[in-house]
Amino acid sequence: MRLFGADILPLAAEHIVLALVPVLLGLVISLPLGWWAWSSRGARRILLPLTGVLYTIPSLALFVVMPLVLGTRILDPVNVVVALTIYAVALLVRSVVDGLDEVPGEVLTAGVAMGYRPLGLLFGVQLPLAVPVLVAGVRVAAVSSFSLVAVGAIIGQGALGTLFTQGFERFYTAQIVFGLVSILVLALVIDGLLMLLGRLLAPWAAARAPQRQAV
């Protein structure tokens, strides 16, 4: 499908990949970091402010600096992926910590008393119970990632964001608006899918309303 002189579908696909791969990588990196911050007071004191600072770095600056830091070429999509992964980590480490904090103390005590080993407890009890908070964090990270990819157009890797740069060059408002709406729609669809995934992964969270019955 060609619109405004560009092939839209490959652009959209590229946008999804450029936005979601960093979120996935960010989650993989944030899980151990978040667990570390959760379990050690010292690590928490360093990691949480640090990730907060990371998020305040302007995306444009980060994109431009990436080739210098990584030694990649200016037009390499790796620049965008790495930069957005940094943002995802900045958001998700806190989500992991918050999610693990959600697990009630008595549930942890019970888990230890039942004979779980630390890793079994983490994967069998703590992480499953952190899923609702984690999914909420991943949704924010994903939506933010979708909008940040567009900024990558400045360094020639913006996927649907290139519709903006080209639109501005040609003073073509319709193209800019189309780029904006398409990114928004994609972000909303992904957000909805992630919400559904959260429900599938944590069916118990919907079962909170107590149905009181005689003992």
Binding site: V107, A110, V112, A113, M114, L129, R208, A209, V215
Partner: protein
């Protein structure tokens, strides 16, 4: 059997949770640890499954020093129930109960069907098995907690204030249920509570601990009430201990009086089967007081006498038919006769 010998627990900041405790919880009995907060009772309990390790001294489980055991393996062999049940919110009731068998390597399907049977055993409808804990009442959750602790077929059960967070009526139900289960299963149970009434109701043996973790007295409940070792224990078992002690005295040989069938005074009204329905004085109709069932304790006999509007209580047999009247004086007479002989008696007979 659980043996604590000279167990001490001090923390790096200098607080001493347990000074020196020696205690044996006998096989097949409920041993209750009771005391005010800060007396180290939960610490003591957690030493059995190595959630806390003693600073010195040894804890032996069936003769084996627990400090030689791998903690997770040890814990899978010991049932554990905590306050608020501590159920896993993300697992169904059935999967909660199946936790330890699955950890022990049993097949999930097998563990689930065994879990279903356990739910019935603790007085729950197996239909609740597919629900999540948040969908159950507090009392139901606590029953699931007990079922989960029983699921590994552990001979030893640790219970840490398991019934403290539920309302008094539900608590009484749960206590009855535990006694019933224990009469079927005969596990070795170490039970922690701050509630002396609960300790007296459930314990075969009761250990009263003081703040700082010293043992004030270790005795069967009847002895605790009849002969507190010191002022601390006397104060802790409470003001009504003389009255409460009556529940450990059988009322089997209580002399019953006959009821007058006619006349001016109080007349007992019975139905066609001989069950009491109320009292009548002249034209006035008054409800019954409490009724003493045959085989009950002296406490229930005295309560029947004191709560009756007629000044004498009603004793009934197992079918609820009137056996005779209970004069308060008869209760006191029997109490005098049994004085001194009850201190060491076993509470099982009249619990």
């Amino acid at each position: 059997m659980i043996e604590f010998s000279d167990v001490r627990k001090a923390y790096p900041d200098g607080t001493v949770a347990l000074t020196s405790l020696s205690l044996t919880a006998r096989e097949g009995e409920i041993t209750v640890l009771v005391g005010p907060s800060g007396c180290g009772k939960t610490t003591t309990l957690r030493m059995v499954n190595r959630m806390v390790d003693p600073s010195s001294g040894t804890v032996r489980l069936d003769g084996v020093d627990v400090s030689t055991q791998d903690p997770p393996t040890l814990r899978r062999g010991i049932g554990y129930v905590i306050q608020n049940a501590g159920l896993f919110p993300h697992r169904t009731v059935l999967d909660n109960v199946a936790t330890v068998p699955v950890l022990l390597g049993r097949r999930r399907s097998e563990a689930r069907s065994a879990a279903g049977e356990l739910l019935e055993r603790v007085g729950l409808d197996p239909k609740v098995g597919s629900r999540y804990p948040a969908q159950l009442s507090g009392g139901q959750q606590q029953r699931v907690g007990v079922a989960r602790a029983l699921a590994g077929d552990a001979p030893v059960l640790l219970m840490d204030e398991p019934f403290s967070a539920v309302d008094p009526v539900v608590r009484a139900d749960l206590q009855d249920e535990l006694l019933r289960l224990q009469s079927e299963l005969g596990r070795t149970i170490l039970f922690v509570t701050h509630d002396i009434d609960e300790a007296i109701r459930l314990g075969d043996m009761v250990a009263v601990l003081r703040v700082g973790g010293t043992l004030a007295q270790f005795a069967p409940p009847a002895e605790l009430l009849a002969a507190p070792a010191d002022d601390f224990v006397a104060g802790f078992v409470g003001r009504d201990r003389g009255y409460r002690r009556l529940q450990f005295v059988g009322a089997g040989s209580l002399a019953l009086s006959d009821f007058p069938t006619t006349g001016e005074g109080w007349l007992l009204v019975v139905d066609d089967d001989g069950r009491p329905t109320g009292w009548r004085q002249g034209e006035e109709h008054v409800a019954l007081g409490t009724v003493h069932a045959e085989g009950g304790s002296l406490r229930s006999a005295l309560d029947a006498a004191l709560s009756s509007p007629a000044g004498r209580g009603v004793a009934v047999d197992d079918d609820g038919r009137v056996l005779g009247g209970i004069e308060p004086e008869a209760v006191i007479t029997l109490l005098h006769a049994s004085a001194g002989s009850t201190a060491g008696s076993s509470p099982e007979s009249v619990r």
